[in-house]
């Protein structure tokens, strides 16, 4: 038996027919069938491989019938109205207990119930105790009623699937850590998920849906919500990052997206999705603080280290003034090395100080002539070497200080690391979509590709400082200055082929002339 029950259960499940409402589901249809066909009996049944399950009937047939005894077994193997005009004259039925015993059936007409997947689920049939024949209209009606049975079943199936889908969406919404809510044009909350509700104290949670809940918030905050809501109704979509003190007393930072939507009648609503970014914002805050602490530390350290160094410098110069003539040979050389190291230390501290200040007072983007800016930087370098600098005569809109810092460092590097006393530097600028692409090319000794990554590191020099003085902070400073403006720098170079530094600098709006 389990197999048969399984079939029945499967169909019942598929069409969401519960045992409790199964009996009267098609009662109207069987009554209509008896009246329309003018027959005393009618039934709707499901049919599996060896049983007929009677669901609704007019009459008193058993609720399950062995398929070998069932007339309907013949109906389900075809698709049209199947009639047995006189059961006593038909070989298939004349021995049937339903014919020979009460209710002594003499006439049968059945229509298969075929669903949209072309599966035959069962039958709708009418029966009589006298031989008969259905007229054309009765046949059509029987078919229509069979169709109606199937439509009802399919509708139940769809409803069931929909409710399952709704359950799924409900589950997704309820399990979503984001706060999800919908408001109407009176700012009343129509829907809210549990994440949203949990921000209200338990005793007022049933006073959230259907209310604006604005009175639960600080006046200013409530006003800010309304401003944002109005803006959403106007513009269709808004995004805000807001710090909110919730009725539970919790203060959270939310990133809220509000989207306007309309119902069938054109009434506007807001769908809000708010992501709790409190932890993220706190981390960002902490990072900012630790970065600024580090900057401050570098600033103070380099500043405070300078004072004793300057004292040493003065003392050394006094010794030189007072007793310079006493120093001879190695001592004189060592003395010179002391002075040299003092200057190097000074330069390191100065660059460290500069590095810590990069990006502090960059100022706003302004219109600058690249050629003039580069010339000015070159002059300030105050170098003895004779270099030819070719610069594109082009206007750019960039913050002045970082541009000068970048150009000065790149030109100074090109000259300082050049293998000859004179050379050529070419500075070009191209517009590439929303970026400036500035390139600084020299005809110096070039840098091996294996070292390209190294040169941007802090305190990294490629030659001993005794050969070329340098703090090793120049390119690190350039990279930092660019990073503050979402810019990037890269190098194209090889030994003996000069070097090209390519800067990509996103364009910004000019704020002053």
């Amino acid at each position: 038996m389990p197999k048969r029950d399984e079939f029945r259960i499967q169909i019942l499940k598929k069409y969401n027919i519960l045992d409790s409402d199964i009996n009267d589901l098609f009662d109207d249809i069987v009554v209509l069938a008896t009246e329309g066909c003018d027959k005393p009996f009618a039934m709707v049944s499901f049919i599996d491989t060896d049983k007929q399950w009677v669901i609704s009937q007019v009459g008193s047939f058993p609720s399950k019938i062995d398929l070998e005894k069932a007339f309907c077994a013949h109906t389900v193997i075809q698709t049209d109205v199947f009639e047995i005009f006189d059961t006593l004259l038909d070989d298939r039925t004349k021995q049937s207990e339903f014919v020979l015993e009460a209710p002594n059936i003499r006439y049968y007409a059945g229509v298969p119930l075929i669903n949209s997947d072309k599966q035959t689920l069962g039958t709708l049939c009418v029966l009589d105790t006298k031989p008969h024949i259905l007229n054309k209209h009765q046949k059509i009606m029987l078919k229509l009623l069979a169709k109606d049975v199937v439509s009802q079943l399919e509708l139940r199936k769809k409803n069931y699937e929909l409710s399952k889908l709704k359950d799924l969406y409900q589950m997704i919404t309820e399990n979503n850590p984001d706060l999800i809510f919908a408001k109407d044009s009176d700012f009343k909350i129509l829907h809210a998920n549990s994440a949203f509700l949990s921000l209200y104290p338990e005793e007022i949670r049933d006073k959230v849906i259907g209310y604006t809940t604005l009175e639960e918030f600080d006046e200013q905050e409530a006003e800010a919500f309304l401003v944002q809501d109005r803006l959403t109704f106007e513009q269709g979509k808004t995004e805000t990052l807001e710090k909110i003190a919730f009725p539970t007393g919790e203060i959270r930072t939310l990133f809220t997206t509000k989207t306007r939507f309309e119902d069938d009648e054109g009434k506007a609503y807001i769908l809000g999705v708010a992501r709790d970014v409190t932890e993220r914002e706190e981390l960002i805050e902490m990072l900012k603080k630790s970065n600024s602490d580090l900057d401050e530390f570098a600033y103070i350290a380099s500043h405070d280290l300078k004072a004793p160094l300057n004292a040493i410098k003065r003392l050394v110069s006094w010794i030189e003034e007072d007793a310079g003539e006493v120093l001879q040979g190695d001592s004189l050389e060592h003395f010179g090395m002391i002075k040299n190291r003092i200057n190097r230390m000074n330069m390191l501290l100065k660059d460290l100080l500069d590095y810590s200040r990069v990006g502090k007072n960059d100022g706003l983007p302004q219109k600058l002539n690249l050629q003039e800016t580069a010339r000015h930087c070159y002059q300030l370098l105050d170098l003895a070497e004779d270099f030819v600098i070719n610069v594109d005569d082009i206007d750019v809109v960039l913050p002045k200080l970082p541009l000068e810092l970048v150009l000065t460092n790149l030109m100074s590097n090109a000259i300082k690391h050049h293998d000859k006393k004179s050379g050529h530097i070419i500075i070009k600028c191209k517009h590439i979509k929303n970026d400036y692409q500035i390139s600084v090319t020299d005809d110096g000794p070039g840098i091996a590709p294996s070292l390209h990554e190294k040169i941007f590191k802090k305190f990294q020099t490629l030659k001993p400082r005794d050969e070329i003085e340098g703090s090793g902070l120049g390119l690190a400073m350039v990279e930092k200055a660019l990073a503050n403006h979402s810019g990037k720098i890269s190098i194209k170079s090889d030994v003996g082929k000069g070097a090209t530094f390519v800067i990509t600098w996103p364009k910004q709006e000019a704020t002053s002339k």
Binding site: A307, N310, A311, K313, R314, L315, W318
Partner: protein
């Protein structure tokens, strides 16, 4: 012109840094300026000197701002409230270019605010001014 005897005017240097103090003394020596220099290491020591008989000549004060115990501005405030020394001529000599420091110092009636560079090379000009000043200035006589 009525020129007072420069030997009678000296410098009361209030400076915590030995090398800075030495720089000034050295520059005076190098220029063969003979006016006496007395140095205190901070405001507290300066008042101890004023209370003692250590400064037995008319003086102008050369005051550093950043000092331990009693800093320059605290010293100035106390000095201006002191009945004996409220009229003292004070020059500030400091590394601080801070606007607020400059403003506050002049509020306490200083004669001039000089910023010493970290390397001490600007000192020559400052010593020039002090030299000329001491040669020509008339200081208020002590009334006691």
């Amino acid at each position: 012109m009525n020129i007072s005897n420069p030997n009678q005017i000296g410098i009361f240097l209030i400076e915590d840094d030995d090398i800075d103090a030495m720089s000034i003394k050295r520059e005076f020596k190098r220029r063969k300026i003979a006016n006496p220099i007395t140095r205190a290491k901070d405001g507290v020591e300066a008042f101890e000197f004023l209370a003692s008989e250590k400064l037995n000549y008319p003086f102008i004060i050369l005051l550093d701002l950043q000092m331990p115990r009693m800093n320059g501005l605290e010293f100035l405030t106390k000095l201006r409230a002191d009945s004996d020394y409220k009229n003292s001529v004070v020059f500030v000599l400091t590394t601080s270019p801070d606007k607020q420091d400059i403003f506050n110092s002049y509020e306490l009636n200083i004669a001039g605010y000089f910023i010493k560079d970290e390397v001490g090379e600007g000192l020559i000009g400052i010593v020039d001014i002090l030299d000329g000043y001491m040669n020509l200035v008339h200081l208020p006589k002590m009334l006691n």
